[in-house]
């Protein structure tokens, strides 16, 4: 039984196949990573899996519900949460309020009782505030409870998005490059946080360039190239796959072999070459 089943998924932008006939299954309880060179379609795939983009073809079945073509808020209501590579924090609010927004689906009530501010609402608001504060502490942001999001450093904002996503009580959490822009210490702390997420029973989909992180936490890895599946399997089998190394470095350099046969080394070389 898979939590998320993707079948023959395609997304075209004009004439370009950003995602091309892609099928895979994500079992519950695991960390499933999606890697691939820049432009491979990782973020497009994440946008498809959360309803931000509507697929050109194929189907997305989550937890037994066919969500193909549904809006993002419907994905959320079935238990899909995500963070963004380019932050989508609510900068007009405090950190605490950002997380409280994440509780929206479990707090909302009718317009009449909202406008009249019924006593029940005051009680749920207090509970919501406390739970949001708890989540901020959980992701390590206890110092930022009442700080405006526009005054927080980048690393803290990345955690804030995780706390906000957690507040929706998701079954599946998609993290889009959570380590990008973090210093090595902050990136190390992410390992621990991702581990704790799965401990809570949240299945994690990780899109990430930091191979140390990916290889350390992943149960399964999907390698994308030009929108197609290049390889899929446990971390160990993927990291030594020549096809994967070739995708990152180009065939000439890969055949040369001097950059190593391990994808973790190769990607660090590839990232250096891009700069």
């Amino acid at each position: 039984m898979s939590l998320l089943r993707v079948e023959c998924l395609s997304k075209k932008f004009g004439g370009v196949n950003a995602i091309d006939d892609l099928s895979f299954d994500i079992p519950p309880g695991a960390v499933y990573s999606i890697i691939g060179p820049n432009g491979a379609g990782k973020t497009t795939l994440l946008n498809l899996l959360t309803g931000v983009y509507v697929p050109s073809a194929g189907s997305i079945v989550f937890d037994g519900h066919d969500l193909t073509g549904r809006a993002p808020y419907e994905y959320a209501s079935h238990g899909v949460a995500r963070t963004f590579q380019n932050l989508q924090v609510f900068f007009n609010m405090s950190a605490l309020e950002n997380v409280m927004v994440g509780r929206y689906m479990h707090e909302r009530c009718g317009l009449a009782s909202t406008l009249m501010r019924m006593p029940r609402l005051s009680r749920t608001e207090r509970a919501c505030r406390e739970e949001a504060a708890e989540l901020l502490r959980y992701v390590g942001l206890r110092d930022y409870l009442s700080v405006g999001a526009d005054a927080m450093p980048y690393g803290a904002l990345k955690r804030l998005e995780i706390a906000r996503a957690l507040a929706t009580r998701p079954k599946l959490m998609l993290l889009d490059e959570p380590a990008a822009g973090l210093n090595p210490t902050e990136a190390l702390e992410l390992d621990d946080l991702i581990g704790r997420l799965t401990g809570r029973g949240v299945t994690v989909v990780l899109v990430e360039h930091n191979m140390r992180l990916v290889m350390g936490v992943s149960d399964n890895i999907l390698v994308l190239d030009y929108g197609r599946k290049l390889a899929e399997g446990p971390a160990l089998s993927v990291r030594n796959d020549p096809k994967v190394i070739e995708a990152y470095l180009g065939s000439d350099i890969a055949r040369d072999g001097s950059y190593g046969k391990d994808i973790a080394d190769v990607v660090s070389v590839a990232v250096e070459m891009h700069r």
Partner: protein, 330 residues
């Protein structure tokens, strides 16, 4: 923070602001020496009700409307026609009109709130112009450009007449409007509005139906404008299409921006200042509008967030600095 003392609670912007506004409304008559002043203050109150609603849309949800005078005009003419031409009881006329305007806002809002920024501004502008055209051309009902006389407002047998009576009615309704707006803002739905203002996709992925919320706040703001329009028609006893013009829509938006976006009390202050300022500037005679424009430009340059949020920020910065001084001194 969870168990803060009651005194601190009273000083919170929410309760403190309501108390301050109630105090101003209660004490203001002491300074109103004649009918003319009462008249201006009633106009301030009616504009403030519209602006409190419009601020929910513009300031909190971040959606522009250049057509709210259309809703104001629709409310005014709906009440006027039903009460004066068809002899409905004014309260029934007002309720029916409000419902009709809410429906209109819903039907118009659903398609046009998909648009963003300048495009939404254009669409709402078009809507306002259509309402204005209907009012000026359907002269069999509306009296056309000449306007229409409106019977006084009455509930049961009691007739609301005179500036002083209206002062208290409008004052109470303004407090009600502010209370409703504050309740909305300080709720899950209100946070959803502020969230989609900042990032629509960010709001959607936590389960917020952005389109639904935008339509909801559009309808609420239209209802505030419509009720104020109905009251304005009955209060002045005569209504012309002037109140439904594009210029009036711009005035309303200006009041919201001037007072401070995403500040309910800012909307009230904006309405108060921009309604009274032209009267105060009458001493400049021919140069009145020039001075008015200069005041607006100066305010937006020196208080770019609008009057109330800018001043609030100034106080916050000062009190923080004082705390810092004490700590470093100790």
């Amino acid at each position: 923070m969870q168990s803060r003392p009651i005194l601190v609670g009273l000083a919170s912007p929410r309760t403190g602001g309501m108390l301050a506004l109630a105090g101003v409304i209660a004490l203001l008559p002491l300074f109103l020496s004649n009918k003319y002043f009462y008249d201006i203050v009633v106009l301030v109150g009616l504009n403030a009700i519209v602006c409190v609603g419009l601020n929910l849309l513009i300031g909190y949800a971040g959606q522009i409307s250049l057509g709210h005078a259309g809703f104001f005009g629709a409310g005014a003419y709906g009440s006027a026609i039903l009460a004066s031409r068809f002899g409905w009881p004014p309260i029934a006329a007002m309720l029916a009109t409000t419902l009709a305007v809410a429906l209109l806002a819903y039907l118009v809002g659903r398609p046009i709130l998909r648009l963003k920024g300048h495009y939404l501004a254009m669409a709402t502008l078009g809507m306002g112009i259509i309402v204005f055209m209907v009012i000026t051309t359907e002269d069999a009902y509306t009296g056309g450009p000449d306007g229409i006389a409106v019977v006084p407002f009455s509930i049961g047998g009691y007739v609301l007449q005179g500036e002083r009576v209206w002062y208290w009615v409008v004052g109470a309704l303004l407090l009600l409007a502010v209370w409703l707006a504050q309740n909305l803002i300080d709720s899950p739905a209100g946070r959803a509005l502020r969230a989609l203002h900042s990032s629509e996709v960010g709001a959607e992925v936590v389960g917020i139906n952005a389109a639904k919320h935008k339509v909801m706040v559009f309808v609420i703001s239209a209802v505030f404008a419509s009720v104020a329009g109905s009251l304005a028609a009955h209060y002045s006893g005569f209504i012309t299409p002037g109140k439904a013009t594009f210029l009036h829509s711009i005035e309303l938006v200006t009041m919201v921006v001037f007072g401070g976006m995403a500040s309910t009390f800012g909307a009230v202050v904006g309405a108060a200042v921009l309604t009274t300022l032209p009267q105060l500037l009458a001493v400049f005679e021919d140069y009145e509008m020039m001075v008015f424009g200069a005041v607006m430009m100066g305010t937006m340059i020196f208080l770019p967030r609008g009057v109330v949020p800018s001043i609030a920020r100034l106080f916050q910065a000062r009190s923080k600095q004082q705390i810092g001084d004490k700590e470093s001194g100790a």
